[in-house]
Point group: C2
DNA sequence: CAAAAGAAGTTGAGTTCTCAACAACAGGTA
DNA sequence: TACCTGTTGTTGAGAACTCAACTTCTTTTG
C-alpha cells in the first residue's frame, strides 16, 4: 500500500480546501444574489446554449452532470416556477423535451453577470497566465484519466447488491480478499 | 461587464468537469467499497488525527468544512452507528467533545487504503511533477483570495434578509439594467 | 455585579440528492 | 408477429444538507 507523500498530502488538502471554498462561495453568491441554487443555474445555462433553447432530458442531464433522476426532480421544480417547460418528443415517444421559457431566460440574464464576475474575481484574477494554462491541462488530464470510470458510473451499475441499510451501510465485508471477490459491485 | 474570454471559458469548464468527475468517482468508490459517505469519512479522518482522537464540535466542523448544523446531524448519526462518541466539556459547559471510538477507527482503517489508492490513481498519477506543483500553488492562491469571504461565509451572515420563499426564491429585486448578454459561464 | 452581546451546539422544517423500482417505448432477433 | 433487451424518463422513499430559530453558557461592558 502506497500512501501519499508529504508533498502530495499538502497538495491534496490544498485542492480540497480550494475547490470547496470556490464552490461554496460561488454557490452562496448565486443563491443570495439571485435566489437560484447553482445546480439549477447550470440547467438554465445548458438550455440557453442549446439550439432553440431546448434539449432532450438525457442530453440536458449529461450537460449538467446530473443523474436522470436528479434532473427529473429539478426540472419538475423549475417547471412549477415557470422557467422551463416540458413537451413530448414525437420522434421518440419515450423522450421529453425541456425548453427554457422567456421567464427562465430572463432569470438567467439577471443572474449571470454576478456569477461570472465572481468566477473572474476569485479564480482567474488570482492566477497568473501560466497557472491558468496549467489548470486547463490539469483539468484535461483528470478528465482523460476518469473518462473510462465515469462512463460506467454515469448511469449507475444496476447490480443487485441487496442493500439492507439498517443504519450506516455496514462496512463492506473484508476488503482483505477483494482481489478474489467474485462479483464486487 | 466583463465576460470570460474563450480561453477562460474553456478552462472554467474543464475545471468544473474535472472536479466533478473526481469527487463523484472518489465518493462512489468510498461509498461502494466501504459504505461510508465521503463527508462522514472526512469526519473520521479529522478525529483520527487529533490528539486523543478527540475534538470540540466546532473545531471538527471547521476541519471538515462543515457547518455546525450539518456536523451536528452527521455526528448524531455516527454516534448511532457507534463510530463516534460525544461527551460534555467541563472547561466550557456549552461545548461538546467528539471522540473516535475503536470501532470508528477500525472502519477508517478499512476504508482508507482504497480511498488513498483512488486519489493517487486518478489525480497524482495523471499529472506531471510540475503540474502537481502548480496545482498546489493554484490551490493556495484560491484560498488566499477567498479567505476573507469565507471567514464571513463560514458562519452564515445572520442578516435578517426576510426570506419568504414561496417556491423558488423569487429572483432578487431588480438589478434591472444588465448588459443584455445571455451567455454565461 | 447586571445586562447585553457573543459563542457553542442542537433542533425541526423544508429542500435537494440518491437509490432502486417502475412504466413506456425502441430496436433487434427469431 | 412475438420476444427479448436496452433506453428514456418518472416516481417515492429515505438520506443528507441548509436555514433559521432556540437553549445554554461565556465574555464583555457599563
Amino acid at each position: 500500500m502506497r500512501w501519499l507523500t508529504e508533498r502530495e498530502q499538502r497538495v491534496w488538502r490544498a485542492y480540497l480546501q480550494a475547490t470547496w471554498m470556490l464552490s461554496e462561495h460561488l454557490g452562496r453568491q448565486l443563491q443570495q444574489e439571485s435566489g437560484i441554487p447553482h445546480t439549477y443555474y447550470e440547467i438554465l445555462v445548458a438550455l440557453s446554449e442549446a439550439p432553440n433553447r431546448t434539449l432532450r432530458m438525457s442530453d440536458l442531464a449529461s450537460a449538467c452532470r446530473a443523474s436522470r433522476s436528479r434532473l427529473s426532480h429539478a426540472v419538475a421544480k423549475l417547471e412549477r416556477t415557470g422557467w422551463v417547460r416540458r413537451s413530448t418528443c414525437d420522434e421518440d415517444k419515450r423522450g421529453a423535451w425541456a425548453s427554457l421559457t422567456e421567464a427562465g431566460f430572463a432569470a438567467l440574464e439577471r443572474a449571470a453577470p454576478g456569477h461570472v464576475t465572481a468566477v473572474r474575481e476569485y479564480l482567474f484574477d488570482v492566477l497568473t497566465e501560466e497557472q491558468v494554462d496549467v489548470l486547463g491541462q490539469i483539468g484535461q488530464a483528470i478528465q482523460d484519466g476518469l473518462s473510462g470510470e465515469c462512463a460506467k458510473a454515469l448511469e449507475q451499475v444496476e447490480e443487485v447488491y441487496a442493500a439492507d441499510s439498517a443504519e450506516l451501510p455496514e462496512v463492506v465485508p473484508s476488503a482483505a480478499e477483494r482481489a478474489t471477490d467474485p462479483e464486487s459491485a
